[in-house]
């Protein structure tokens, strides 16, 4: 039984009925995905965003907000951005001002917030250039060290408490109040949960700042703040120690503050982040240039942090039909994989998403689900795949919903999924009550235990409907990848290939926060981070991604 453990490499091999795929076809799919990712990489490498610049300041150690609850990192970046001088990055003027004033990073940001200092006036560095570069590197290294220390801490926890057995049982808390969430999470851990995901308040993805402090109000979820991360982390460490299991914490590095939240999560030892390259573009109408730039930086930080990222392809099927659009999920997971690897994420950090969304009332719906689950499992050996329950087909009929979720659990254990997002019987109606989670965990415990060895005992008929369906889906995915590679990802998004949703390259929210890097652009954390990822064997010596499954990765 393989384990999801970011501290150790995961050997390919899993318990799932084997499916013979055409190796050349799979290789072609990966090559196309790499080509698509390379184009995105080229586009994003010469750009930055206000969120990326705020992340640089967070790495420097800037924390806190003004009395008006505007985060200090926003105050600083906005000041330079409004002056039209952000093209060289925030680090240059900020480090120049630190040298000029002798203040600490947060102190300097407070002075700026108080209106006593104008960062733009420090943009020209002159004779102190060398000192400035040294200071920037020193500060960035302190931030990256914080992340590395948390990774070592996780390694130590997992060495002591183990990494859990797949499929890991993932449940959500979403009360809106972090203190209630903590109680709910601790109860869930006692019922068997391996992963606690704190669902975010529904408006947060569109906020261009990260709120501060411990929060007690939210809608459909709880705000992601650094204090909330810290409170939940401490609670899970405590209950996990008592139970003898490491309880993972999951949140969302998504929306307009994707890289900042990745950084804050890395600081507070989150273990998992929802972090999709395309989700915000499609489902939150966030500008695609913005998200593609932001995903790169957020994933690089997550790579260093040893976080598992979860991608969001499962959501395509909430708007598109699960049978007709199954191939779009497969194509997108290959693209997400290529983008993630380019950022230094390893196989055991790839929670690639897919879902069980075929209408459960049609005949042979389980055959379709098995075909899809086995196909995705077979394409990404060793990756802790994230499997999402049938959310679209949940109704107020909680008894039927509970059975649908049970079938989902059976498919999950039978096909060796990594991260099982347990369905809640009451899903269509309310955010989970404490005992909804108990029902879900009891079902998972029963089925995962009972079905543990089934996947390695059963075989597919090579000429049967399930194998044929899986192969047909892969064929369609290849056709789509050929099209996307030919026209580019941005054009593909414009044409509505994913989730039946069309987005324009210059449409959506947050485009005003994207800029092309100037000649003197400088982000000291960038080269340092690349260096660390190379040193850890997560990137090749030339800074490029390892070949997947070629034995080259750490």
């Amino acid at each position: 039984m393989s384990v999801v453990c970011t501290a150790f490499p995961v050997a390919p091999g899993f318990d799932c009925p084997s499916l013979a795929l055409d190796a050349a076809q799979v290789a072609r799919g990966r090559a196309l995905a790499r080509q698509i990712a390379q184009e995105v990489q080229t586009f994003t490498e010469i750009r930055s965003t206000v969120a990326i610049e705020r992340t640089v300041l967070r790495l420097f150690g800037v924390e806190g907000a003004t009395d008006g609850e505007v985060p200090l990192v926003n105050v600083c970046v906005d000041q330079v951005h409004l002056a039209g001088r952000l093209q060289d990055g925030i680090a240059r003027p900020f480090c120049a001002a630190l040298l000029g004033t002798g203040l600490q990073p947060t102190e300097l940001a407070q002075e700026i917030a108080a209106g006593r200092l104008d960062l733009a006036s420090f943009a020209q560095s002159g004779p102190t250039e060398h000192n400035m570069l040294q200071l920037g590197k020193k500060l960035a290294d302190i931030g990256l060290d914080r992340i590395a220390a948390q990774r070592r801490q996780r390694d130590a926890f997992q060495a002591r408490l183990g990494c859990g057995v797949q499929p890991l049982r993932y449940v959500i808390v979403a009360s809106g109040n972090i203190y209630e969430d903590v109680v709910q999470a601790r109860v869930a851990a006692r019922q068997g949960a391996d992963i606690i995901a704190v669902i975010r308040s529904t408006g947060q993805s569109l906020l261009d700042y990260v709120p501060e402090g411990a929060t007690t109000e939210g809608f459909g979820g709880t705000f992601a703040t650094q204090d909330n991360f810290r409170l939940m982390r401490a609670a899970l460490d405590e209950v996990g120690d008592e139970l003898g299991r490491y309880i993972r914490l999951c949140n969302y590095a998504s929306g307009l503050c994707m890289p900042e939240i990745a950084c804050m999560g890395a600081f507070e030892r989150l273990d998992m982040m929802l972090n999709d390259a395309l989700y915000g573009i499609l489902f939150r109408d966030i500008n695609m240039q913005r998200t593609l730039c932001d995903q790169r930086v957020s994933r690089r930080l997550s790579a260093l942090a040893g976080l598992v990222i979860n991608t969001g392809e499962d959501n395509y099927l909430t708007t598109a039909d699960a049978i007709e659009a199954a191939h779009t999920v497969v194509a997108s997971t290959l693209i997400n994989e290529a983008l993630a690897r380019a950022a230094g994420l390893q196989t055991n950090q790839l929670g690639l998403g897919h879902a069980m969304e075929v209408n459960p009332l049609i005949d042979n719906s389980l055959s379709y689900e098995l075909a899809q689950a086995i196909l995705v499992r077979t394409l990404f050996p060793g990756a802790p795949l994230k499997f999402m329950p049938p959310t679209k087909h949940m109704t107020g009929n909680v008894m039927r919903g509970h059975v649908q979720d049970a079938l989902f659990n059976l498919v999950g254990v039978l096909t060796g999924q990594g991260i099982q997002l347990l369905g809640m019987a009451t899903e269509a109606m309310h955010t989970p009550h404490m005992h909804d989670r108990y029902w879900a965990l009891e079902s998972a415990n029963l089925i995962f235990g009972g079905g543990r060895a089934l996947g390695s005992e059963l075989q597919l008929r090579p000429d049967g409907a399930i194998a044929e369906r899986a192969k047909a889906t892969l064929d369609h995915a290849l056709v789509l990848l050929e099209e996307i590679a030919a026209e580019g990802l941005m054009t593909a998004l414009q044409r509505g290939h994913f989730a039946d949703i069309k987005r324009a390259p210059d449409g959506g929210r947050g485009q005003d926060g994207v800029f092309e890097r100037g000649e003197n652009y400088w982000d000291p954390s960038e080269a340092l981070l690349t260096g660390r990822l190379i040193a850890a064997g997560q990137l090749r010596a030339d800074g490029c991604a390892h070949e997947p499954y070629a034995g080259g990765e750490a």
């Binding site: 979403a174 809106g176 109680v183 601790r186 109860v187 006692r190 019922q191 308040s201 529904t202 408006g203 993805s205 569109l206 939210g218 809608f219 459909g220 489902f283 939150r284 109408d285 909430t318 708007t319 598109a320 039909d321 679209k392 109704t395 107020g396 269509a428 109606m429 309310h430 955010t431 009550h433 404490m434 005992h435 108990y438 039946d500």
Partner: protein, 270 residues
């Protein structure tokens, strides 16, 4: 049957069990009780958690809560220790209360259910131009599943969405639209009907959001002449009326239901 028949000790005689040729007892619609397996037994299942530690006291607390609700013979079928001082209970009990079904009154949509062709035919008879429909998921709500199911061509449950109807001109503003932005669009678009979807219902935010839209529409002079329709898993026609809307649709609503209502309501208005 002899006085010493063993059956005597077990309950009613076989003759009584056979019902002596009588059919089932008729339901008294003036006094309707919950039904388990026998008319008027009042059987109910309750399922809840209490913030008290697992144990006999927790079970008794659950029973006592049921008695306070007026339920009879509460029996704890299942109790589970959730930890952290919480106990989950499944209780069966009998409710002696009855309701007079003949006095029940529920507001109903005043519209005949038509299919897509029926809606289009009705429109052709009553209108000379396309009906403009504006849809949105308002407030912080980002869940567009509902509004998309009703409006997108793809539709829901085998029915095409309103975009596919030749009688409608549809604009779907998508997720997280503020009430201000929605009404601004309604003015520009000269909307005939506004469809608002609300899925997130935490702390009843859907109700305040919807009520605020109607208040704002009245203040802006945009209430009259436009059909306001809301939908979502926790909404109903009755709640919609309470919030000042013209109609409301709950879970499982299909596009033809909404389309049928919109054409007929607007035709009436004219």
């Amino acid at each position: 049957m002899s006085k010493h028949s063993p059956l005597e000790h077990r309950g009613p005689s076989l003759v009584a069990l056979r019902g002596a040729g009588k059919g089932p007892r008729p339901v008294d619609l003036h006094a309707v009780r919950a039904y388990g397996d026998t008319l008027d037994d009042g059987q109910m299942m309750l399922s809840f958690a209490l913030p008290v530690p697992f144990g006999d006291e927790a079970k008794e607390a659950g029973r006592e809560l049921c008695r306070k609700m007026g339920l009879l013979e509460p029996q704890v079928y299942h109790a589970h220790d959730l930890g952290e001082g919480f106990t989950y209970l499944t209780i069966y009990a009998r409710c002696p209360l009855s309701i007079d079904f003949t006095k029940i009154s529920v507001p109903k949509l005043d519209a005949q259910r038509l299919d897509k062709a029926g809606v289009e035919a009705f429109w052709a008879e009553h209108f000379t131009r396309k009906i403009r429909i504006l849809g949105a998921c308002t407030g912080d709500d980002a869940h567009t599943v509902g509004i998309d199911a009703i409006l997108n061509i793809k539709g829901y449950h085998g029915e095409k969405g309103l975009e596919a109807y030749k009688c409608f001109e549809v604009t779907n503003l998508g997720a997280q639209v503020s009430n201000d932005a929605l009404l601004l669009a309604a003015r520009e678009f000269e909307a005939d009907a506004i469809l608002v979807s609300q899925v997130v219902t935490q702390k009843d935010c859907h109700r305040s959001n919807l009520a605020a839209l109607i208040d704002l529409a009245e203040a802006e002079g945009l209430r009259a002449g436009i059909a306001y329709v809301c939908g979502g898993p926790r909404l109903s026609h009755a709640i919609a009326l309470e919030l000042g809307f013209d109609a409301g649709f709950g879970a499982g609503t299909t596009p033809t239901e909404v389309a049928s209502y919109v054409v007929q309501a607007l035709a009436r208005e004219r």
